[in-house]
Every structure is written in C-alpha cells, then in structure tokens.
C-alpha cells in the first residue's frame, strides 16, 4: 500500500491555480454584441474613404474624418459609446453595404437608430424608398410620412442622418429643385454622389431653374417627379412639363403611381 502524496488541500490549491485571464476580446465582444459599444472600419464610397461604425444591433454611424482618431472622438462625443477599430467590416455587412450603395434596395441592413425620434426614423426610412438615380423633394417626404406641413423638420432630420449613403438622404432635394444641403460635405458632395448614381444633376438644376417641377407624357397623361424612371423613358416629342401639380391636373394628367408626386409649397 502506498500512502497518497496528494492531499485534498494540495489538489484544491492546484485547481484554484487553473484560473485564467480572458482575452480582451471577450469583454469588448460582449459589449459590442449587446450594442453597448461599437467597432468601426473603413469603406470606399463615391465620396472617397469613409468610416462605418456598427454593433450587434446594426450600423450605427457613417462619416468622413481626416483620420481614425478624429472619427473616434466625434463618434464618442455624438453617440456617447466607446468605439474600437476593427480590421474590416464583417463580410456579410460589407457585402450588404456594397450592394446597397450599388442601388440594390432589397438588401436588408440592420441599423442601430436608438436615441432618435420616431419622426426622424420615419424620414430616414422614407428616404430608403427613393431609387438610385432619382431624387424627391423634402415636401414629398413630408407628405409621404403623413406630416405634409413638416417640410423644414424633414430637412433637419435628413441633416441629422447618422448613416448617410447607407440611408440615402442625398436623394432628397429642395422643393424648388435645387440640390440643397448635405451633411457629408455640402451641395458639391451631394452632387458628386448623385452623379455617381447616374443622375444628371446639371440637367436637373437647369430644369428647376426654368420653373419645371413635374413632367408628364402626352400619350399616357401621367405626371411624374422629373427624375422618376417612368418620366425619363418619355421621348422628347411626347414630354410635357408643369410648374405645379395643379397645372398638370387641370390639363387632365393623373399622378404617377410609382413616384407619387405631391403638391409642393411655393
């Protein structure tokens, strides 16, 4: 018979020594997954390099900054959460954003829009319905979300869009047809994005300057927003233009069911 050399006390002490330290990714990963912290990476856009932030709830922020430090401090100041750099976007998210920027409106991208008002979210979701290569006036968004008088508030909400490009606030323009402001670099940047999406902004602004707000076809007697894909298929010979929806209505034109033109305040 041998006497056991390992007493329970010795074994228990040795077992306690098996405690390990978790890698930092365990804690930060849990906070990101629950939406209490974010990660970010760079993406290429029509406006050049941009930063995308996301967490377990969705994309939380898209913005440009001269460098990563500036982006991080802006994010912390605006959103109030911690953020750390990631090597790259998760593959599925990167693919979804690439498709979305290429004009695929069916691709679903989860968004983390906590802390924003239902009105703001409604405005942004409506902007998502505008097809690539087209624009709609602020007043159209206001009417579509059932707040036809809240045109200015729509403009403010769009200016506060935390996820520009992913939510295409650049596709909403002034009701007088001018391009209007843009949070990601002003009217010139907005023009660049719209041009990259196939819209001829020079043509659009020239039409607006001539007082044209709506266009129709004298064969179908349907009136559209000028950039509606149906309107752009009309040949010059059959194309008619209107300064207002009332003028179109009195000429016997009915509104397009696709782009749903609305009367605009002067």
């Amino acid at each position: 018979m041998t006497i056991s050399t390992l007493t329970d006390a010795v074994l228990e002490r040795a077992l306690r020594e098996l405690r390990a330290t978790a890698p930092a990714s365990v804690g930060s990963g849990a906070l990101v997954a629950t939406g209490l912290a974010d990660r970010y990476a760079r993406i290429d856009t029509a406006l050049g390099r941009a930063f995308v932030a996301w967490n377990g709830r969705g994309v939380s922020w898209v913005g440009q900054a001269p460098d990563a430090d500036t982006f991080e401090s802006r994010f912390r100041a605006e959103v109030g959460r911690n953020i750390t750099a990631a090597e790259a976007l998760p593959a599925r998210l990167a693919d979804a954003i690439r498709r979305r920027l290429a004009g695929d409106r069916r691709v679903r991208i989860p968004l983390d829009l906590r802390g924003h008002t239902p009105f703001e979210v409604a405005v942004w979701m409506k902007a998502l319905e505008i097809p690539r290569g087209e624009v709609r006036p602020y007043g159209w968004v206001a009417a579509e979300i059932g707040r036809p008088r809240a045109v200015r508030a729509v403009g403010t909400a769009l200016a506060h869009n935390p996820v520009p490009l992913v939510v295409p606030c650049h596709r909403v323009v002034r009701s007088d047809g001018l391009i209007g402001q843009y949070s990601m670099g002003g009217p010139d940047a907005k023009r660049r994005v719209l041009v990259s999406e196939g819209l001829d902004t020079g043509w659009l602004e020239a039409e607006a300057a001539r007082g044209i707000r709506f266009t129709g076809s004298d064969t179908t007697h349907i009136v559209c927003n000028p950039t509606c894909r149906d309107a752009r298929r009309v040949t010059p010979r059959h194309r008619v233009t209107f300064p207002s929806l009332a003028a179109a209505a009195s000429a016997g034109y009915r509104p397009c069911k696709h782009c749903r033109p609305v009367s605009l305040a002067a």
Partner: protein
C-alpha cells in the same frame, strides 16, 4: 467594486449602465469555466462572450425584481456550463480525443507568474498542464462540479444551484472528482518521456506544494 447583490440591483435599475461592470467582474471566471470544461481556448472565448450576451438578453426580458434577486455568480456559471455542454456535444462529433491534448498548451500564461524562477515556472506549467488534462478526462458531470467548486470557487450551495443538482450529489461528485484526479496524477505517465521518469506524483508534489 460592489458586491454581486449590489450589482444585481443596479442592473435591475439600469441594465445598460450596469452591464459593463458585470462584464468586467465576471469575464475571467466565465472564460476559466469554459476553458477548463472544454480544454480549448478559442471555444472558451466564444462560450464566455456568448454567456455574457445571453445574460444581457435574459435580463432585458426580466422584470426588475427578478434581475435584482439574481445570484449572479451561480446564474452566470450555469449559462456558461450549458453553452459549453452544447459545444462539447458538437465537438464530440468532429474531434477525435487525441486532438484534445495539443490544444491544452494554450491555456496558460507564463509571463503572468513573476513569483518564481524560470525552472519552477516551467515545472508549475507542466503541473498545471497535467492537472488540466486530467480534468478533461473526468466524466462531464463530475468535471463540471469540480470546475465550479474548486477552480471557480463557488460554494457547494452555489455549485448545486448552478448545475441544478442536489447539494448531496455535488458533494459526492466533488469527492469522486478529487479521488479520480489524484489517481490519474499518481499513475505512471504514459508514454514515459525518459527511461528514468519518476512516478508522476513524486515529480508533481514539489510543484503542487509550491502553489500558495
């Protein structure tokens, strides 16, 4: 750092504000539990993170009174044990047992131990490796009882609560686990590394005794 009871009532008041402290206070032990149950560092990382996320989501669905009454240590341990169990079931289907041993090497952090010389550290590492390997040879129910009771340091009552077994069962499983660990560590190492390899227990004893 507040006690778990104070943390639980803070979580009940404001889950998002309190959760980072729960992560800070519990991530190492959840990682340890998963690592000693599974033997693989990558799996343990995922289980620990997943356990924290599941705890958050569970508390999101709880009434504040229920969150405030949580005993966080056994509750979180039970989440990690269940996740590790599910993962092991899947792992059993794909990994032959021989692949377990090389993965153990990554479970230890030599640099962290500044209390003894390089030779003793190496001894100790070897000892810990053997103990961790022996743990993995225990049957899962016994291993879970030992890991929660003696690695994580839960009381018998808390271990019973975390594993959903009677205290008497836990006591018997811990007793049995210690006995089996001792038997494994005292047996001849197979295959022997050198022809003059002493009995494992004789080699191990100084290193085990050195642990304070």
């Amino acid at each position: 750092m507040d006690t778990d009871a104070a943390l639980a009532s803070r979580l009940a008041r404001d889950l998002e504000a309190g959760f980072p402290d729960l992560v800070e206070g519990h991530r190492d032990r959840l990682f340890t539990i998963a690592l000693r149950l599974l033997g693989d560092r990558r799996d343990a990382e995922e289980v620990a993170q997943d356990a924290l996320v599941r705890a958050f989501r569970a508390m999101q669905g709880y009434q504040p009174e229920r969150t405030a009454a949580l005993r966080l240590r056994p509750w979180l341990a039970s989440i990690a044990v269940n996740l590790a169990r599910n993962r092991r079931r899947r792992a059993d289907d794909r990994l032959p047992p021989s692949q377990l041993e090389p993965m153990l090497a990554t479970g230890f952090d030599l640099a962290q131990d500044g209390r003894s010389g390089p030779a003793q550290r190496a001894d100790r590492l070897e000892t810990q490796r053997e103990l961790a390997t022996a743990l993995l040879a225990l049957r899962p129910s016994v291993r879970a009882a030992i890991v929660l009771r003696h690695v994580d340091g839960l009381s018998v009552t808390e271990t019973a609560e975390a594993l959903g077994r009677p205290e008497g069962t836990i006591k018997a499983q811990v007793h049995r686990g210690l006995r089996e660990l001792r038997a494994m560590l005292e047996s001849e190492p197979a295959p022997p590394l050198t022809t003059t390899a002493p009995k494992r227990a004789e080699r191990l004893r100084p290193a085990l005794e050195a642990i304070r």
